[in-house]
Symmetry: C2
Subunit: 151 residues, 2 copies
DNA sequence: CATATTCCTACCAAGAGAGTAGGATTTGTC
DNA sequence: GACAAATCCTACTCTCTTGGTAGGAATATG
């Protein structure tokens, strides 16, 4: 699995914050409750988002979290990349610059590189706002059945 | 990681068989040696390919494996799907028909479904033959720097 | 019959995934 | 100043997957 619960929950949190964010800081327990997820586990995931500069936080009573930017200024790629560490579909493509020692002669490498680019490209093209407004056409593209209603 | 060594090695085996396949059956030890992989581990991977109808096999002396079809008649998608079980990027999209119970109200589901389709689409568009002939344009698409040589 | 090969079952060690536990620190309110 | 509500921080644990290994049975060729 390329994206674990960590990345998935992180995205869920971001969506939740974007929806509730108008009225100031939202507490962890609030998020955990409305998404029905373990508060302790969410805590560790939010910590990653927070350290990565995705959120603003406030400690103490009435504290909580809110988005640091406008929803349209987050790509899904950066959210998942931060929480998952890498989104490469195979182990032989990890970070920029680092590559397998067989790379020069590996005939399957272009395939993995192409797959990686296709994934990255898709995730960079979708923003947090797209998810919130339910932009199915952008997310599902030609596979969206409800986008062009049957006559 | 979406594709483990199992899927990667399986693809390598298929490529190797396609290249050597003209002269009849190729033995496991032969493949393991030329790809420099553990023979015992490859054995378990080839067993999956063989049971899945991807290969023809012959036991006994001078036995071995060969492709069941022409390289151009294998998509990368089917090879990886067989060995990996699933290529879904997230756990909430597994098999056709089976879906998460929150699916109806999940705002992130269209994203995962779209990502899944993008991946599937890419892998269905590439054949074993494309890898063997090194069809970089098809694999790397717009990201292929060597496809349009600099003037 | 010897040898080279596939086939089959079982086992194992390390790491990742998915959380839990407990407490320290900070801030707002009474 | 005390208390409560919240974030922050470190460490631990359990289970499943990954990436193999071991040993031998069955089978075909010469």
């Amino acid at each position: 699995m390329m994206v674990s619960t960590k990345g998935r929950y992180a995205l869920t949190v971001m969506v939740d914050l974007a929806r509730k964010g108008e009225n100031g800081y939202v507490s962890l327990s609030d998020i955990a409750e409305s998404e029905n997820l373990s508060m302790k586990y969410l805590e560790s995931i939010i910590a990653i988002l927070n350290k990565g500069g995705m959120l603003k936080s406030l400690r103490g009573k009435n504290g909580g979290y809110m988005l640091a930017r406008d929803p349209k200024d987050y790509t899904i790629n950066e959210i998942l990349l931060l929480t998952e560490g890498t989104l490469a579909p195979v182990n032989c493509i990890m970070q920029e610059g680092v590559q397998c020692e067989k790379a020069a002669t590996c005939s399957t490498l272009p395939l993995w590189a192409g797959l990686d680019k296709v994934i990255e490209n898709y995730l960079k093209g979708i923003t947090l706002e797209d998810i919130i407004i339910g932009n199915r056409k952008k997310m599902l593209g030609e596979y969206c059945e409800s986008c062009e209603p049957a006559e």
